[in-house]
Amino acid sequence: MIPAHFLEAFVLISALALLMFEAFIPSRHKTLIAIGSIGVLVFSLVLLFFAKAPDPTNSEMARFYAWDASAKFFKGFTLLAGILTLALGLDYRKALSKFTANPESEDGTGEYYCLILLATAGMMWMASAKDLVSLFVSLELSTITFYILVAYMRRNVGSLEAGVKFLILGALSTGFLVYGISWLYGASGSTELSAIGASITEANSTYLLFGLALILVSLAFKVGAVPLHLWIPDVYQGSPTPTTSFLSIASKASGFAISLRVLEPFLNSPVTHDKTVTILSILAGATILVGNLAAIPQTNFKRLLAYSSIANAGFILLALAAWDKGSDLTSAQIVGFYLAIYLIMTFAAFFILSTIHRNTGSEEISAFEGLGTRNPFLALMTTVVMAAMAGVPLTAGFYGKFFSFEAGVQASLWVPISIGFIGVAAGFYYYFQIIRAMYWRKSFDESPIKVRPLSLYVLITLTSLLIIFGFFPQPILWLLQAA
């Protein structure tokens, strides 16, 4: 048994070490870095099951570092996301090298894998952050790494544009975060979240709520909640696909992980509960509405996935807004459940996207045309994935929305739920557009679409998981409850 925070340290040190090695590895062997990185993450994932809480006598660590079911879950989540991102990166390296230092070689790809490790370490830490200081530092570790990951293809205008947009808006949100933290600190006299929760009274609630609102801005930015979602479509579209997937899955998940920690004291306090629920349900409703409706006219699949990620954030926010009113799962569990499934299906979607991109050179929905004949098996898997994203029952994708709605109904949040109806119906429309393109339409180019072995295995695993969890979701709950 090792103390849990050693895991972050291990990942961080490995990242730095690999970064160092990278300089000495010849261009054609850069994939070794990726494989090494995967190894590090897999090893950490294994270690995670043997980790224990930091020594409580070590008060300086125990104060900043939480080790509970949620921390464990989100660490595992991040690690898994990191592994899959690396796997996606491996198959994406052609495109990556095309837009970096030397298009003919893989010179520029090595750092990319290491940066993923760094971001992973940051997000793992976020899962355990229970003090505003550690929250801020870990958040920035991952965010700053993401600035680089987004702008990584430095000869690609889209990637750079996305990088700059993300940089400016991300820094803006950081400004709100620290300003909010300073107000929370000022009003409660502490940076520790549990202490802040304990200090809530009628007298200081206004100041605390002001601080919370500012932090919420930053959190909403992180998870892509309306009205702070504006960066998402552009950044997702412009980034290298593995970055996009990492951003939309791991970054969003850790955003929710810290949201849970930050919001928990406010939602549990009777003084601030109602106001927090109000703002959360407003955010949820707006996010569902905008995410789903704006996705309808999209023609670019990557951008569509960006809007879909906004929409999904809305459904998760709905579960948060229905804070622990449900009789079955706690909101934290629902968030975890939702994200776990979201991970599976979104990664599957990105693997599909990357495969299509490699074969056709396009990320438009029209690139899917004729897939039903060009590669029936891939088309079938895409169908399952799209069905899951649309929330068709008997795929895992259904459960997330189901639990959110369940919590919402039990908390009587009728307005966001009604918006949710519209959202789901719209979701059927735009996800099924992919299915329509694959089967209804004929493509001019009838050449078969090839799937790389690695992508294929990952895709088969992910789609099978979608179906298996569709019938038997209990394992995810086991993971969530394993405290």
Binding site: L169, L216, V217, P227, L228, I279, A294, I296
Partner: protein
């Protein structure tokens, strides 16, 4: 014995199914099979006529206390009616063997006949209203099939459709009536009804006599459909598009009489006295009276031999309904009984004429057939006399009873109508007879006509005998479904009927004996008669406007408002709002920052200041 009854019911069905499934290729065999089954049923019907039999039933649908049964009500009423059905049925089968000899779809025709025999048997022996309703619909089906036998002809196909739909309208009321009566009395069976009412005054039994009366009137609506009473009479003349033997069997003798039969069944079950206490029962008699009058007037100006007979059937059905409405179901049923024979005779006779004249139906193109077709001439003549109510023919006795009951119940209006109709009947029947059979040949077809073969004339002869004799007590007592012998006496009815006969006969002789063309053709009143009071046109307009226009409007609203505006509006709105959100996504970083700032203000406002 009840096994025999089940055989009567089942045999025709078996025959129909066998023909349909197995004997498509051998047309003659199917014809013989159907005729054979009709003969066997006739024999069986005669066998079970006398002995006492008990009723047995099969549970058709059972839910808790509700039991819907398929059973056989083997009382003398049903058995008598069975004689009519199987008797006429068998003779028509026999006649058809010759008449339909060369038809290309003979097997379909005989299959339809067998199906009809099955359905009609079911109606007659049904012990409850639901079973009767089922078979009621089934005779409708077989009538539909047989009218539309020559479905390649547009007119036949349309007539079949019209018949079915008009009957459906009647059945709409019928079903409501059955449901209401079931609600009121808790039973469907006729035995149950007579038990429930038991001759008592209805006020002590049911919460509302008015509702009970309405339910009876609604049930009568079924009879209006089936027995073609005004205003649902329009289908019957068109139904003559079917082969003539079918007209004889279904649209003259049996099926159309089912309405009268059913009403008589109802009246006798509930009890005539109880019915007498109900409200609005005169309506039934008046509907019968009006129908018979209208139909008789229309009949005076028809040229098609079958059409004349069809209107005459309508008119006679009106007579029967009037009798039932006058609370004298016995008279109605007796007239049904006699009418079945002589009307079947007339139709088959006309069939023989049509057959001989190579499917010429216009009486003005016949003439002089008495020499060419003596047997047909003779038998047709007997039928005509019987229909006109010539003394001591069958029709005379039954018509007498109806007039008697009108007089008895002091319904002088109806009595006058009945007398007028009797007069008109004589008039148009003699017109037909004079033009078609007497005088000289007015066309080649008539010129080349020759007497039909024995398969055809034997049924005619048998029917002619029955047309003469069936009114007498010795036959009627045993065979007629309901027969209430009243001693003959000279009274108002007798005088009325004799004078009607004389006046009608005289007028007809005056106008049509040896006439070359219709002297009344240009009379404007007669034009109205000829055009059936324009009722068909009126209905076509009503259906056109009421049904089709409403349908078109509703469809339009459905498409435009529900589908186009509401649904389409929502989906367009969703897409439009999506595009507006997309427009916010301007791609401009400063725009994002500004919206970011706006979002911050909103979040702060909503968090801190709104609860």
């Amino acid at each position: 014995m009840e096994t025999l009854a089940w055989i009567i019911l089942g045999l025709p069905l078996l025959s129909a199914v066998t023909i349909h499934l197995g004997l498509k290729s051998s047309k003659n065999l199917s014809a013989y099979l159907a005729t054979g089954s009709a003969f066997v049923t006739l024999v069986l019907a005669l066998i079970i006529l006398m002995p006492e039999t008990e009723n047995r039933a099969l549970e058709w649908a059972t839910i808790g206390d509700l039991k819907i049964e398929i059973g056989l009500q083997l009382d003398s009423f049903a058995k008598g009616m069975m004689i009519v059905v199987t008797g006429v049925g068998f003779l028509v089968h026999l006649f058809s063997l010759a008449y339909m000899k060369d038809d290309s779809a003979k097997e379909r025709y005989f299959c339809g006949l067998s199906l009809f025999m099955f359905s009609m048997t079911g109606i007659v022996m049904a012990p409850n209203f639901l079973m009767m309703f089922m078979f009621w619909e089934l005779v409708g089906l077989s009538s539909y099939l047989l009218i539309g036998h020559w479905y390649e002809k547009d007119s036949a196909a349309d007539a079949a459709k019209k018949a079915f739909l008009t009957n459906r309208i009647g059945d709409f009321g019928f079903m409501i009536g059955i449901l209401m009566l079931w609600g009121i009395t808790g039973t469907f069976t006729f035995d149950g009804l007579s038990e429930f009412f038991d001759g008592a005054h209805p006020e002590v039994l049911v919460p509302s006599v008015t509702i009970l009366s309405i339910s009876i009137l609604l049930i009568f609506m079924g009879a209006m459909g089936k027995s073609a009473q005004a205003p649902l009479h329009v289908w019957l003349p068109d139904a003559m598009e079917g082969p003539t033997p079918v007209s004889a069997l279904i649209h003259a003798a049996t099926m159309v009489a089912a309405g009268v039969f059913m009403m008589a069944r109802l009246y006798t079950s509930i009890g005539v006295d109880t019915i007498g206490h109900l409200w609005g029962m005169n309506t039934i008699a008046w509907i019968g009276g009006i129908t018979s009058l209208l139909a008789a007037l229309m009949a005076t100006q028809q040229d098609d031999i079958k059409k004349i007979l069809a209107y005459s059937t309508l008119s006679q059905l009106g007579y029967m309904v009037m009798a039932v409405g006058l609370l004298d179901p016995e008279a109605g049923m007796f007239h049904l009984f006699t009418h079945a024979w002589f009307k079947a005779l007339l139709f088959l006779g006309s069939g023989a004429v049509i057959y001989a004249c190579h499917h010429e139906q216009n009486i003005w193109k016949m003439g002089g057939l008495q020499r060419k077709m003596p047997i047909t001439f003779l038998t047709f003549g007997i039928g005509t006399l019987a229909l006109c109510g010539f003394p001591f023919t069958a029709g005379f006795f039954s018509k007498e009873q109806i007039l008697e009951s009108a007089a008895h119940s002091k319904q002088w209006g109806l009595f006058a109508v009945a007398a007028l109709v009797a007069c008109l009947t004589t008039f148009y029947m003699l017109r037909l007879f004079f033009i078609a059979f007497l005088g000289k040949n007015r066309s080649d077809k008539a010129n080349h006509a020759k007497e039909v073969g024995p398969l055809m004339f034997v049924p005619l002869v048998i029917l002619a005998v029955l047309a003469l004799l069936s009114g007498y007590q010795f036959l009627a007592n045993n065979l007629s479904p309901l027969y209430n012998h009243e001693g003959f006496h000279v009274g108002a009815p007798f005088i009325a009927s004799i004078s009607a006969l004389v006046i009608g006969g005289f007028l007809s002789w005056k106008l049509y004996f040896n006439a070359e063309s219709d002297p009344l053709a240009n009379n404007s009143l007669c034009k109205i008669f000829r055009n059936k009071f324009y009722i068909d046109e009126l209905y076509a307009k009503i259906v056109g406007y009421a049904q089709d226009t409403v349908a078109a409007i509703v469809h339009f609203i459905d498409e435009l408002v529900i589908n186009g505006l509401i649904v389409g509006g929502f989906s367009r709105a969703a897409g439009g709002i999506g595009r507006i959100f997309g427009r916010l996504q301007s791609g401009n970083l400063q725009g994002y920052a500004a919206l970011f700032g706006l979002g911050v203000i909103l979040v702060i406002y909503l968090t801190v200041f709104v609860s």
